[in-house]
Structure formats: structure tokens, C-alpha cells
């Protein structure tokens, strides 16, 4: 895989995501799809976006000064409105009051511009794992069908998208990854041995890719 360390590069784009698994996902998505390169930095969860931007600014000052766009990618989980608002609070902490965008995918009135990408997509409940389920499903329909049955037996129809998505994908990876049933989601994207488990060229990821591609 290509190195995730891009500190010597000067791309005019920065993508801040929630954690290392998101980092690996976006890195792989951008590489496979031939999207414009981004500096990608994981924050330590959704309470650390401002800190992650400050960290990049302090550690990569020249790269920061060359930025034209920052994208913050966050999970909607079960409350898209609240999670988007949380990102806006971080944007205003960094850039000042009144600078946050009104909606996801809009450019904020900041320099560099800041946009918010909510996962799995604007107003949809879920997260990165939920977003990846369709791709994993199509990669092995038999396994997917059996996992559907398993979750149905467990009463998963009453679960939230977030719980269901994490459980479904975890079960899927455990079944399909012979070398390591505990394989971390980040490794699925960053380790060539596992990349077939969740192909990032799947159509379910097209709108995410198109959004990132709009920063070319």
C-alpha cells in the first residue's frame, strides 16, 4: 500500500476524519478512484476536530498555509442533526463565530474553505461501517445472506442503523477474513491482503467519491 504519511507533500486539501479507520478508508478510496490527493488526518474522535486542525496547522504550517479546502468527515450515528451541529461548533472554534456552513457539503465562509461530509451520507443514520456494508455484501453474497439470517435471529430488526451496521460488518469480516477474524477495519483498507473484503470501487461509495472529486 502507499504510505499514509504525506507530511512532505503540499496538497491544497486537508481531510479531517474521526479516527484511523476512516483515515485508511479515505486514503484507499482516493487512491483507487484516482481522486485529487488530500492530506488526511485522523482526530481522536468527534470531540477533537478543532484540535486536529490545530495539530495539522502547527506541525505542517507551510502545507496549512497552502490549503484551499478542508473537509471534515464525521459520522451521523443516530442523530445527523446533532452530529452536524457538533462539527459546526468545532469549525467556529477554529475560525470564529458565524463561520460554520448551514448544511453538510456546503463551503463555510472561512479561509481555507471548510466543508462537512457526514457519513454514511447527509441526513442518513449510521457511520463508516454502515457505509461499507453494501460493498461487503456484494463482494460475497452468500456470506452476506447468512449474516442477515444470523442478525435476524438475534432480533436485529429492532436495532438502530449504527448498532446493526457495526454488528453486520464485524460478523462479515470475521467470517470472510480467514487470516484474521478479528481484522481491524483500518487494515481492511490499508493491507493489500484484505482489500478485497470491502472494495472501494463499489457503486455505494460513488457519491462520497464524487464529493471528494469536486475539490480537484
Amino acid at each position: 500500500m502507499a504510505a499514509l504519511n504525506d507530511s512532505k507533500q503540499r496538497f491544497p486539501r486537508l481531510l479531517i476524519c474521526e479516527g484511523h479507520e476512516d483515515h485508511a478508508f479515505f486514503h484507499q478510496l482516493i487512491q483507487v478512484r484516482g481522486l485529487p490527493p488530500f492530506h488526511i488526518r485522523p482526530s481522536d474522535g468527534n470531540s477533537q476536530f478543532a484540535q486536529a486542525i490545530a495539530k495539522f496547522r502547527l506541525e505542517n504550517t507551510k502545507a496549512y498555509n497552502a490549503l484551499q479546502n478542508i473537509v471534515i468527515a464525521a459520522d451521523n450515528d443516530e442523530d445527523p442533526k446533532a452530529k452536524f451541529k457538533n462539527v459546526c461548533i468545532h469549525i467556529e472554534r477554529v475560525f470564529g463565530a458565524g463561520t460554520a456552513p448551514s448544511n453538510p457539503q456546503e463551503k463555510a465562509k472561512t479561509r481555507p474553505y471548510v466543508s462537512v461530509l457526514m457519513l454514511p451520507w447527509t441526513k442518513e443514520h449510521g457511520h463508516l461501517e454502515y457505509l461499507c456494508c453494501d460493498s461487503a455484501d456484494d463482494a460475497d453474497r452468500t456470506a452476506a445472506s447468512r449474516i442477515d439470517d444470523l442478525l435476524a435471529l438475534c432480533g436485529a430488526d429492532k436495532w438502530t442503523n449504527s448498532r446493526w451496521g457495526k454488528a453486520w460488518l464485524r460478523a462479515n469480516l470475521a467470517i470472510r477474513c480467514e487470516q484474521d477474524p478479528f481484522v481491524a477495519l483500518g487494515h481492511v483498507f490499508s493491507d493489500a491482503r484484505y482489500q478485497h473484503l470491502i472494495p472501494v470501487d463499489h457503486p455505494s461509495l460513488n457519491q462520497i467519491a464524487a464529493f471528494l472529486g469536486s475539490f480537484a
Binding site: 507530511s7 477533537q48 484540535q51 490545530a54 495539530k55 496547522r57 502547527l58 506541525e59 504550517t61 507551510k62
Partner: protein, 372 residues
């Protein structure tokens, strides 16, 4: 040649009695912008938007100490400061001999960018009070003797210029000053000792104004075994002494701890001389990590309460980490300056807000640079 004065925490101060002992806060005054040309490693440097507390970080040789020296030179009116800078950097000047030109080059040549004494040094401080001063060091084209090759020209906040001409020859070394009564400024170099008499004198100012408790409490709270700090006179020499638990006699503060004594020197200078400019090189020297946060609190409190402007350098990540905890959300009067050598080898200063500094520290950033 004449020996220079003992190396110590030197200051530019108003004469005694020029300030009321009871301090009354006024509107802030401070340096807002700094412009430096042809001074040491700086060809051309401009720093805007200085804050109340400015923390300077950067690699060795990136110009941190030179920056403090430039500021202190402009604040002063004394042409022998460059010689003191030599001492602080470990370049003593005993037994120098030679022509006036050779001596001038040896003593003052390194003030000039790339040692080029045909250029003019200038340091301009823009601000809201008497610290809005500038200094120029130019060749003395009208010199009738080769013993006066340079002129120091200070300009005060009112625009009045005062020229000072050092005399440098094998027979005589004389570095005069402007004779001005200046606002207080202090430069605590990284490796110097501190005058016990000066510390005692400043503590006395606090004590007479009954303002010594805040100063003393910093140390009694931080070290459970320090019971009190006060002035004692031994063989006619006043000094700060500490009462220590378990010791029947008081002990001179430098004997208790060099680190405590250094920090006490800084704090007592701030408290005794409000509205002063305080320059500290390598603030963390001698300070045990467990005390960093509370020492930061003391510095921040003193800076704000006594309206001092602080410029300090540090290499310590622990010291910077402690700031994030000590400052809380009150960071608007704090700035981080990072000195770096640019692609062309020239020192550059990157400035960051206190908010970015605090967020970066909380995000685990290496705020001292060097990762790019």
C-alpha cells in the same frame, strides 16, 4: 582591557522611587510589532500582533535568543549590551588586544547580519507606551578617529533620537549609554546567575507595599517544605532566604535550589516592576516537571496582574503541555512564535494564536515544529 561587569540578570530600570510602591493597574501598554534588519541571523524580520505572553520555540540556531537580544537592545540605551550578550553566550572578553578595527570586529562584528559591518542594524519596536523604541547601529562616517567606528542611535517613543558613540581602542574601551530614564525591562538569559541583592531589592519593594504574599505563596504552596521566604542580611549583603521545615536556620534561596531561585527572580521582577517587558531565554531551565503547571499559572497571573509583557523561549514539550492546563480557556493574550530556517536558510517566525496552541497541544501536536 577593561573587564566587563559580572554576568547577571541585567535590567533597564527607572531610578528607585520613580514608581509608587502600591501598584495601580492602568491600560495595557506593550510592544505590538517588531521589525529587525541586519541583526545577527536576521536579514529582515517583521513580527506583527505581539501578545501579552509570547512563547518562542524552534530548533537550535533558529534565532530565538537573537530575537530576545534584538528586543532588549532596542529597549535599552546602553551600548555595552552587545558585550553582555557575548558573556551570556559564553564568549568572555579578557585580554583582547589589537587595532581599533580588530577589536570592534571582535566585539561587535557578530551583531551584524553575516558579520557585514558595512550594513546598518536596526530594531524597531512599535507599541503603545515607552517601549515603542528603536535602535540603529551605523558606521560612523564622520569619525575623526578610527576608535569610534560605530554609532548607536536610539529613538524613543516621542521620536527623539539619542546617539551614543562607543570608543574602542587598545588604550580605551568605553561603551556609554544614552542617560535616559527608561521603563523597566529584564532579560533572563539561559545560563546566567542572578543577583541576590537585586532579588532582595525587588522583594523589598513588594514587602513594603505588603504585596509579597502572592509571591511567597507560589513557593510555599508548591513545595510543602518551604515555610516562608524573606530578606535576610548576612555580612551586609541582603538576599532572599527561605525557612525550611526541619532546619533551624534559614537558607539562602540559591542554596535551596538554582531552579527555584531563577523562577523567583523572574516572578519578583514582574511583581516589583509592573508594566515591564520580561525576556526569558529557556524558561524551563532548572524546573522540575511536576511544577510546570503551577509555575505557568504564576507567570500568567503575574503577567496579567502587573501588566507585564512576557517573551520567553523554551525547548520543553512538558513546559508547553503544562500551559494548556494552566491557561484554561483564557488564551487570547497568548501567542506561539516558532522560529524556523526557511528554504533559503533565513530565519522565519511563524505565529500562532493561543487558541491554536492550546488546541494543538490537546490534539497531541508537536508544537515545537520539526515535523514538516
Amino acid at each position: 582591557m577593561k573587564r566587563l561587569p559580572t554576568n547577571r540578570a541585567f535590567r533597564l530600570v527607572k531610578p528607585q522611587g520613580s514608581m509608587s510602591l502600591g501598584y495601580v493597574p492602568t491600560a495595557y501598554q506593550m510592544i505590538h510589532e517588531i521589525e529587525i534588519a541586519n541583526f545577527k541571523c536576521f536579514k529582515d524580520l517583521k513580527i506583527k500582533d505581539c501578545k501579552r505572553m509570547n512563547i518562542v520555540v524552534g530548533d537550535n540556531g533558529s534565532g530565538k535568543t537573537a530575537l530576545l537580544e534584538a528586543i532588549f537592545l532596542a529597549l535599552g540605551g546602553t551600548s555595552n549590551l552587545p558585550l553582555r550578550y557575548r558573556q551570556q553566550r559564553g564568549m568572555d572578553t579578557p585580554h583582547m588586544r589589537g587595532s581599533s578595527a580588530k577589536l570592534t570586529e571582535a566585539l561587535l562584528g557578530d551583531l551584524f547580519y553575516r558579520l557585514d559591518m558595512t550594513t546598518s542594524v536596526s530594531v524597531d519596536l512599535h507599541g503603545t507606551g515607552e517601549e515603542a523604541r528603536s535602535v540603529k547601529i551605523v558606521r560612523n562616517v564622520n569619525s575623526v578617529t578610527s576608535a569610534t567606528p560605530l554609532i548607536f542611535i536610539w529613538k524613543d517613543a516621542s521620536g527623539k533620537e539619542r546617539a551614543v558613540v562607543p570608543e574602542i581602542s587598545a588604550a580605551k574601551i568605553d561603551f556609554p549609554d544614552t542617560g535616559e530614564t527608561l521603563d523597566d525591562s529584564f532579560f533572563f538569559a539561559s545560563n546566567q546567575t542572578y543577583s541576590a541583592v537585586e532579588n532582595a531589592e525587588r522583594f523589598s519593594i513588594l514587602s513594603r507595599a505588603k504585596r509579597q504574599n502572592n509571591f511567597v505563596n507560589v513557593f510555599t504552596h508548591e513545595y510543602g517544605w518551604i515555610e516562608d521566604i524573606g530578606i535576610e542580611v548576612l555580612a551586609t549583603a541582603p538576599a532572599l532566604y527561605a525557612s525550611l521545615t526541619g532546619l533551624s536556620d534559614k537558607l539562602a534561596l540559591p542554596s535551596v535550589s538554582g531552579g527555584i531561585n531563577r523562577f523567583a527572580s523572574i516572578l519578583v521582577a514582574m511583581a516589583a516592576r509592573p508594566r515591564s517587558v520580561i525576556l526569558v531565554d529557556e524558561i524551563e531551565n532548572g524546573l522540575y516537571y511536576k511544577h510546570h503547571e503551577n509555575y505557568w499559572k504564576a507567570l500568567l497571573n503575574n503577567c496579567r496582574e502587573y501588566e507585564c509583557q512576557l517573551l520567553l523561549t523554551t525547548h520543553s514539550a512538558e513546559w508547553l503541555d503544562a500551559l494548556a492546563s494552566a491557561a484554561g480557556d483564557k488564551v487570547s493574550d497568548i501567542a506561539l512564535w516558532r522560529a524556523e530556517r526557511g528554504d533559503n536558510g533565513q530565519p522565519e517566525i511563524f505565529q500562532f494564536s493561543g487558541k491554536t496552541l492550546k488546541d494543538g497541544i490537546e490534539g497531541g501536536a508537536e508544537v515545537r515544529g520539526g515535523t514538516e
